[in-house]
């Protein structure tokens, strides 16, 4: 019935975790444990970090050939007549048809080895965003990397490893503003799937803390947006739990200096959802660097690390909409194997991971650790 709370006003345990942000200087009300605070964020933006020059210098031959082009080239006169209904049909429904160009009608994105396509155009430019993952700047192999050309960061830093960019940078759909990332972004926003929470504990000062722990969780609550479609900061998000434990909870050590959080590197399993795919790849040697806005409400930066090649190829291969993306799966499959630069297979020596960088933007959030004992919502 309707009365609210009878006698014992239940203590509210959620104060365990709290964003600090604007309130930080006002009070230490949100202290988690003696002398420290906890910051929370939810990642909203996750975009493959690509360097696009003004005149396409990084792709001197032009963009990569698309699957459609190869499909059309491969059609006989009769097949073209059939596909166009003897020229009556100008709007070709190419997408499903164009993919089925394997020798036995296989979908070449799901079976990328069923045909051999001309080599794919990849990035030949000098610059890329990203980080030096293997500690090596000359392009030589190391214990955990295969030989590969290194990039220079646009800020001049040498030794940047970003073979994922090299792979997809000349593909129309993967350039800035391209469909796969945007569609995935939109899908995450509306579905609330694949949402990553970042919890930073051990914060002594939100702008400068030497020794903090960063934990990555998955949220089960959706984004709360403002009228313009931006997430509202300081919303609460419950952690995805499984058998009483968080389903995702890998941690990294790090520090905040002048509002910039930088983590050490470590393997982190993150939830991912995009283009109707769920994935939870472990990003090896993952590092996060992000700048927290002075008011603490937002943070943006980059996640770098080795991305599992098979997971990526599987993601691309299963996507629909290759017409707009202009992927050519068989050529990308070959190129990915040539470009993979991380974690060689001990037996074959074939590298299994692609160095990668992702631009992220996060919003201050309360990361809620659900506790069944205190779940006390009044449902009136």
């Amino acid at each position: 019935m309707s009365r609210l709370f009878p006698v014992n006003f239940p203590p509210f345990r959620l104060v365990l975790v709290a964003a600090v942000a604007v309130c930080a200087s006002a009070n230490s009300a949100f202290a988690a444990e003696a002398g420290t605070q906890t910051l929370g964020f939810v990642i909203r933006d996750w975009f493959t970090s690509v360097y696009n020059s003004k005149f396409l210098d990084e792709c001197p031959e032009g963009l990569a050939t698309s699957n459609d082009e190869l499909w059309w080239r491969g059609l006989s006169k009769e097949a073209r007549a059939k596909a166009t209904n003897n020229g009556l049909l100008q709007q070709l429904t190419r997408m499903p048809v164009a993919m089925r160009r394997g020798p036995n009608g296989e979908n070449v994105c799901l079976n990328p080895t069923s045909v051999v396509d001309p080599p794919m155009r990849v990035i030949e430019g000098k610059y890329s965003f990203g980080a030096n993952l293997d500690g090596e700047s000359e392009g030589d192999a190391t214990a955990k990397s295969c030989a590969h050309d290194n990039f220079v960061h646009p800020d001049g830093t040498p030794g940047v490893d970003n073979q994922l960019y090299r792979l997809v940078g000349c593909v129309y759909g993967w350039r800035k503003g391209g469909l796969p990332d945007l569609n995935a972004h939109e899908g995450r926003g509306t579905s609330g799937l694949g949402m990553t929470l970042i919890e930073i504990t051990g914060v002594t000062d939100p702008r400068n803390s030497d020794n903090v722990t960063i934990t990555f969780y998955r949220s089960v609550d959706q984004f709360a947006f403002d009228g313009t479609g931006k997430p509202l900061p300081y919303s609460s998000y419950n952690i995805d739990m499984e058998n009483g434990q968080p389903r995702y909870s890998d941690t990294l050590k790090g520090a905040i200096k002048d509002g910039v959080l930088t983590t050490e590197r470590g393997d982190v399993r993150l939830p991912f959802y995009g283009n109707y795919h769920f994935m939870h790849p472990v990003i090896k040697d993952m590092g996060l660097r992000m700048e927290i806005s002075p008011d603490g409400a937002t943070a943006s930066g980059q996640i770098t690390g080795y991305y599992n090649m098979d997971a990526f190829l599987h993601y691309v291969g299963g996507m629909v909409g290759h017409t707009s993306t202009a992927d050519d799966c068989p050529a990308m499959y070959v190129a990915a194997h040539e470009l993979a630069d991380g974690y060689p297979d001990p037996e074959t020596g074939q590298c299994t991971h692609l160095s990668s960088a992702f631009d992220v933007k996060a919003y201050a959030a309360f990361v809620i650790h659900p506790d069944k004992q205190t779940a006390s919502a009044d449902q009136r």
């Binding site: 019935m1 309707s2 009365r3 609210l4 709370f5 009878p6 006698v7 006003f9 239940p10 203590p11 509210f12 959620l14 104060v15 975790v17 709290a18 964003a19 942000a21 604007v22 309130c23 200087s25 006002a26 009070n27 230490s28 009300a29 949100f30 609550d221 959706q222 709360a224 403002d226 009228g227 313009t228 931006k230 509202l232 900061p233 300081y234 919303s235 609460s236 998000y237 419950n238 309360f366 809620i368 659900p370 205190t374 779940a375 006390s376 919502a377 009044d378 449902q379 009136r380």
Partner: protein, 554 residues
Amino acid sequence: MRKSIFHMIAAVAAAISLSACDGPREPEATGGPPAMRRLSNDQYRNIIADVFGPQITVAGQADSLKRSEGMLAVGAQTAEITPSGFEKFYGMAKSIAAQVVSESNRAVTFPCEPKDAVGADDACARTFFAGAGRLLYRRPLAQDELTLAVETARRAAESSGDFYRGVAVSLANMLVAPQFLFITDEVEPDPAAAGLVRLTGFAKAARLSFFLWNTTPDDALLRAAESGDLHTQKGVSAQVERMMASHRLEAGVRAFFEDFLHFEQFETLEKDTIIYPAFTVKVVEDSKEQLLRTVVSLLLDRKQDYREIFTTRDTFVTGSLARVYRVPTSRPSGEAWVPYRFPDNDPRAGIITQIGFAAVASHPGRSSPTLRGRAIRENLLCQKVPDPPGDVDFSLFESADALKKTARERLTIHRTAPACAGCHKITDPIGLGLENLDGLGQLRTTENEAVIDPSGDLDGVEFSNAADLGKALHDNPAATSCVVGRLASYALGRSSNEERNYVQYLEESFASDGYRFPDLMRRIATGDALFAVTPAPTQLVSAQSSTPEMERSP
């Protein structure tokens, strides 16, 4: 819901304290002239829901009442029904009547079935109108009222070939009748005092039910009126105890606080969403409910000291509110309410730091120490703040420049220019105590990068921030005398300003009852003043002549 042992002990203790202690004694009641109060929108809705069931939708709103002497409940006794206002009532009535007789609702709205649904059935119609009419008119229908309702229903049923349509036609007209729309103090000769009058039992029943439940008297109360019980102290006490034990008491408490806290201001509450992206329509709705939940939980469920509404750290939030307060919640989406306690060192405590207060007394894009200070003075302390003079020289403000970053700096002129200072020195210093809350009520420590100083003093009591200001209000005697006076006005339906002795008695009782709000309601409900009535004035109330001089028609 389980009743806690605490509840019971408290109730017993309260009963003992009332009966056993001498305490303050109610002065002889002055009474007011019989009055005629227009139903408020909420009362109208409550009645329809109580008489016909909550499944009936009341589409539309009647004209709102006008606040008088601080309360809409007082304005009800002078409210008129304009042509467009009547049209609204008529539209609502027709829609309600159609729903009441609709096939899907008949099972709960009709006590009988017509012999033949395609024609008239006087007997069934009579049963229906006798039952519903008694609840709507708050007394049994007179013979000719019942006859008209039944005959009209018959004729309409005959012409339309539909029994239910006939009933709807009569019912719609009852719902716009003055007997329904105006709660009228009917009087009868007082057998105990020759030449004087008293309220009829039914008028007393209406007083009690609108005061305690904000709705029409239920069957038991009407029976008590019929039997004459309401003319005895014992009978009144029994009804009051029954009513106070009912869950409907919460509706009564909510209705009072909606009036007391000026909830009509929420209708025009608006914020700029570029400046305050977290502001949504849901925030408006939830912030109203938050105030009420806070108050009901504190005063009714936990039976705490009224003054704690200014200091309590316990409240309830939805996800939308949590985002504005920037506090965590386990239920960030949906409608769920979750209790939340502001930490001890948070500057937010008490209702004045809630969105429902801080954002309402602000501008769409900025906070307003003046509006907030005025709201505290006028609404919570019942102190009149004069209106600004018409000839303010605003050129004084033109010296306000970009160097003045905080409201305190900008408002210095208010408190120093002689023309302004008189009033602003009673509003701004307390309003500045809430400056840690921006125009939406979000916590902030700086404005334009300058640190905000929220300290000040309330009538000589210094405070350091908003929570501290709440403590000063808690201890300010005006805060309790204000709510007592307003509750008395609310119950009596007229300003209690003239009844100083009575209000003083209530104030003393309130203090001796430990400032328990339900006890204060009980004092009023069982006291003599609630029913006291003087004979109607026979003289014409001389209104200012407002009609123009008319020419003789040719």
